[in-house]
Symmetry: C2
Subunit: 188 residues, 2 copies
DNA sequence: CTGTTACCGTAACGTCCGTTACGGGCGACG
DNA sequence: CGTCGCCCGTAACGGACGTTACGGTAACAG
């Protein structure tokens, strides 16, 4: 039952990545999941709950990925770089994820619950980057640490948005170079 | 006739800012413009052309605004800062514009013509920032200049996206601090 | 083996969408 | 002053949407 919800949420991601927000209909999600709209409406109360669940699950997966990146890196500065790298879209799969994020961001306009989820998720990520930045640059004043953490998060978000729409201008090399440059500037 | 198209495009921006992409219907645009769908379909061949025209006009206005900011600033570094500032969303009106940009970005998924317009507009802006950065930091190698220009553009884009959804976490002060910090780091 | 229940596919309903066709009003020109 | 032609509001059409109600089927209990 819970695995059905998860599979449907994955179908939501798939449809969003492929057809964008306008193509995200209950029928399209059902077809992508290999079932009918009946199952979708039995697993969720409606389209809204389907979207919210898919959004929440996406954040959970992102948090797990960030945890893994943090655990797999050696040294404070390297941990910060690893977390920012995994949040960017350096692979085709990452670019898909970026398109999904953009679609959810657009869906949050006019849907207060989705907007609240987005805000919360983003603040969690900002706090993570602040913590990693504090470990990587302990001497940085608190005010500057907050500014630079938000800058790093905004840089990653911007790279995601831009690379999702124009991969040629923002290839993986350009993104990693930008991130490395920004981390170097932020920790000095 | 052309002024009708412009007024309809303004109505598109207004609806996008207020209701997001899901609320952007021909009827909603007509109501916002104070006319009926008949006039809309006489001014444009269909919904698609309406969106493309509104997107192109938005870029023209943004370019004019950037020109004005560039002309009104004294000194190379200050010109760069001024252009980046006017591209961010430091005012309520700017936040509206940011929401419109996000909506157009989401609409570009699954609409190749809108995506092409977005890519072109963004590359124009990247080149502008590269030129300003070259004037502000003439000694910067070409490769690093390209990386940092893209970083600055991505930072602005990220600030727009994040502030559009969460103005409390990204107030005007935080954005200007992030931009000033980034310009200082990029020109040194 | 039979009855019951939970699950989910099927089909339909009402609404709203983009688009089209039609008609009336109004200025231009003979 | 009459007539023609152009705008644009009105109304309707076909289709797709979210949602709901119903029916069949398979698994489990007795």
């Amino acid at each position: 039952m819970d695995s059905q919800r998860e599979q449907l949420s994955r179908a939501v991601w798939s449809v969003l990545a492929e057809q964008g927000l306008p193509g995200l209909t209950v029928r399209a999600v059902a077809e992508r999941a290999g079932c009918t709209t009946g199952l979708v409406m039995h697993a969720f109360a409606g389209r809204h709950e389907l979207l919210v669940h898919a959004r929440r699950l996406l954040h959970e997966r992102a948090a797990e990925s960030a945890d893994a990146a943090e655990a797999g890196a050696a040294g404070p500065a390297e941990r910060l770089r690893a977390v920012l790298r995994q949040a960017a879209c350096l692979t085709p799969a990452g670019r898909e994820r970026a398109r999904v994020r953009v679609a959810f961001l657009a869906a949050a306009a006019g849907d207060e619950e989705l907007a609240a989820v987005h805000r919360q998720n983003n603040r969690v990520f900002v706090r993570r980057v602040e913590r990693l930045l504090a470990e990587a640059a302990p001497d940085l004043p608190r005010a500057q640490r907050e500014v630079r953490a938000r800058s790093l998060v905004a840089l990653v978000e911007g790279l995601n948005c831009l690379a999702a729409a124009d991969p040629a201008t923002y290839p993986a090399r350009a993104q990693t170079a930008a991130l490395d440059d920004a981390v170097r500037a932020a920790t000095s």
